[in-house]
């Protein structure tokens, strides 16, 4: 009887020792369902980072546990986060493509004091949900307020007509853009909202064309809708070269440009990352990502790639300590050169500070690309900035 006790004790010790040696990272993404493509992009970037930088940091081996939320499902996301903490004993929560899921998991990060890295979800107030949370992607107002100011100040646009998808992210983007646009002196003379589920854009674009606006501001979620909207613009004879078409980067990402064809030329978007960005680090990153995933990285991927960088850097700084408090302290104020350009983590809001690029779709060497025509460095999240004042 004694012998079995000794063996059990030894085993337990070994197991806990083993636990010291590894850092477990729980990745929560919508691997299946409507947003599966974004999740795949982000996940490939995580794999790329680990492949490039090895899977041991500060002497500890990294271990990943992947969980699928299946789409917008905060109740499921919260349960998965709880299971990761309680059952899989993870040290770090990562991933989070969608805002509702990030919000729900934020509660778990706060309660369990686990370091959490949001790699895409873009609603501003997410980082307020837990003091141990940092974000390495973007916030919707960050891009859209910069675009609004730029549209009046630099592009000299006087009046604009806005068309956005009728749900949370669409409202946030429109509100951010129009606020900055009006402050800068522009006027919004009309707006319309698309239904979120597979709309047909013809009627809305026709309505916009009838107002023959000087410029259009558009926001649609990624996936099939940018291409469908582009085609509707072409069919209605709205030429992005004459009527300025402004929007967030999804409107002119690679799959949208490929599906739209030459119709896309002239579309102006605000972006925090584009594979066409001219920097040595970015070219290497794009080449390596193509080898691994067979296509160019988009902003989902880069959010994931930089998220991993933040985790690696924080672990190095704390020399492998994995408790939430020390990791978030290490993360605050972290600065580094990302494929998108210089980025840093705002010590107060733990959100990302980055450069916002204004880019136009042009035909370069027979291929449609986003060409940078302007940039606004070191943009903080305006919503939280106002909250602090």
């Amino acid at each position: 009887m004694i012998r079995t006790l000794v063996v059990a004790a030894a085993l337990a010790l070994a197991f806990s020792a083993h636990a010291q040696k590894t850092v477990k990272i729980g990745v929560i993404l919508p691997y299946s369902g409507q947003f599966a493509d974004g999740a795949k992009q982000l996940d490939d970037a995580i794999k790329l980072y680990v492949k490039q930088h090895g899977d041991t940091v500060a002497g500890k081996k990294l271990e990943f546990v992947r969980k699928d939320t299946g789409g917008i499902a905060p109740a499921v996301a919260k349960r998965l986060a709880q299971e990761l903490v309680v059952r899989d004993k993870v040290d770090i929560l990562a991933g989070f493509l969608l805002t509702p899921n990030a919000m729900a998991a934020g509660d778990v990060s706060a309660e369990a004091k686990k370091f959490m890295v949001v790699m895409n979800a873009a609603t501003s107030i997410i980082t307020t949900k837990s003091p141990y949370m940092a974000r390495t992607s973007l916030t919707t107002p960050q891009l859209n307020e910069s675009l609004g100011t730029w549209a009046v100040k630099k592009a000299g646009i006087k009046s604009i007509y806005t068309m956005v998808s009728d749900y949370g992210p669409g409202h946030d983007a429109e509100q951010a853009f129009t606020a900055a646009f009006k402050v800068a002196g522009g006027t919004v003379f009309g707006s319309v909202r698309f239904p979120t589920a597979n709309p047909d854009f013809a009627a809305f674009v026709q309505r916009a064309k009838d107002q023959n606006p000087e410029a259009l501001y558009v926001w649609v979620p990624g996936g099939a809708q940018p291409a469908a909207l582009g085609k509707a613009l072409a069919e209605r004879g709205i030429d992005a070269r004459k009527t300025k078409v402004l929007g967030q980067l999804e409107l002119a990402d690679e799959s949208a440009r490929k599906a739209m064809g030459d119709v896309a030329i002239g579309i102006i978007t605000a972006a925090h990352y584009d594979p066409n960005h001219d920097s040595k680090l970015n070219h290497e990153y794009v080449k390596a990502y193509n080898e691994l995933a067979g296509r160019n990285p988009n902003f989902f991927a880069t959010g994931g790639y930089d998220g991993m960088h933040l985790i690696y850097a924080a672990l190095k700084k704390t020399k492998g300590k994995t408790d939430g408090a020390s990791l978030i302290a290490a993360a605050k104020g972290m600065k580094w050169e990302s494929p998108r350009g210089p980025v840093s983590i705002d010590p107060e809001t733990r959100d990302i500070i980055q450069t916002v690029y204004i880019q136009r779709v042009e035909k370069v060497g027979g291929e449609l690309k986003n060409v940078e025509i302007d940039k606004i460095p070191n943009v903080k999240d305006p919503v939280k900035e106002k909250m602090q004042k």
Binding site: S32, G33, Q34, A36, D37, K40, D166, V192, R193, F194, P195, T196, A197, N198, P199, D200, A202, A203, F204, Q206, R207, D210, G223, A224, A227, A228, K231, A234, E235, R236, G237, S255, K258, A259, G261, R295
Partner: protein, 288 residues
């Protein structure tokens, strides 16, 4: 203002044609054969992916891929009919639901594995189908015109073949009363198989025609299921003409609603459906 009214009506008609082409196959399988085939859009996906691969990988012209999409989807539906559906002809419609939803799940995962989850971009799409033409001051998109043409063509062929040919008579007889049809010497089993192939093939054709308008990714099998069910139920079971009329009514009212009353946009198609069903529960031209 007239210009845009005619424009909205044309767009509504084109959108209705798209809904019709996607759902006509279901009005054959669900409508005539009374089989709750929720996997209808999976067959549409089969057609869509076949024509995308033919165009992107083998450089086929778009129009040539349409018959191939029809045949591919038809053969897949025959396979499934022989293997699975046939055993559930007399099962409760709940069991038919379970089987077909199972097939939808399998098809989504299979296509995500085969083609990846990203939107299928179509290279080499014929330019003459992309631009738009001016006709009496209205801006007609070429592809929408093409869809309207396809809609009328498919309806004409279907109504002619089902109403005026021996095969059509046999199908309607077999569906109405299996026992009696067998009594008259009709090989009911083969007729059902061919009818199912027709339904599946039409779905495949609808799928490939829809790519240009609404794109294609593995989630297609669930995304459009609701709209297809709406068209078939409002149109009335067992009537091709019913689905045709319902698709046009829904297409135009949806488009007009989004143009004239945008804040009501998303509600409209469901309100129209509820209204029509409460007025005619068996559907516009439904028999039972």
């Amino acid at each position: 203002m007239l210009g845009s009214l005619a424009g909205v009506l044309f767009d509504g008609l084109a959108y209705g044609m798209l809904l019709f082409l996607l759902s006509v196959g279901l009005s054959v399988t669900l409508g005539m054969m009374n089989f709750v085939n929720l996997a209808h859009c999976s067959f549409a996906m089969v057609g869509g992916y076949v024509s995308v691969s033919l165009m992107n990988r083998f450089g086929w012209p778009f129009l040539a891929t349409l018959p191939m999409a029809f045949l591919a989807a038809a053969s897949v539906s025959v396979l499934l009919e022989r293997g699975l559906y046939r055993r559930l002809y007399r099962a409760s419609d709940l069991d038919q639901c379970l089987l077909t939803i199972g097939i939808v799940f399998v098809s989504i995962a299979a296509y995500a594995w085969l083609y990846g989850t990203e939107q299928q971009a179509v290279e080499g799409f014929p330019p003459y189908l992309r631009g738009s033409l001016q006709f009496m001051g209205i801006n007609l998109a070429a592809y929408r015109l093409f869809l309207v043409l396809c809609g009328f063509l498919v309806t004409a062929i279907l109504v002619a073949s089902l109403e005026y040919t021996r095969f059509g008579a046999k199908v309607r007889a077999a569906v109405d009363n299996q026992r009696m049809a067998r009594g008259l010497g009709i090989d009911v089993d083969r007729t059902f198989m061919l009818t199912f192939a027709l339904g599946g093939g039409l779905a495949g054709l609808g799928g490939s025609l829809a790519i240009e308008m609404v794109g294609l990714d593995p989630g297609f099998a669930l995304a459009y299921l609701v709209y297809v069910l709406i068209v078939v139920s409002v149109g009335g079971l067992g009537s091709i003409g019913g689905s045709f009329a319902a698709a046009i009514v829904l297409g135009i009212s949806d488009m007009a609603g989004k143009y004239y009353v945008p804040w009501l946009g998303a509600f409209l198609i469901y309100l129209v459906m509820v209204g029509l069903l409460m007025w005619r529960p068996q559907g516009l031209f439904g028999k039972r």
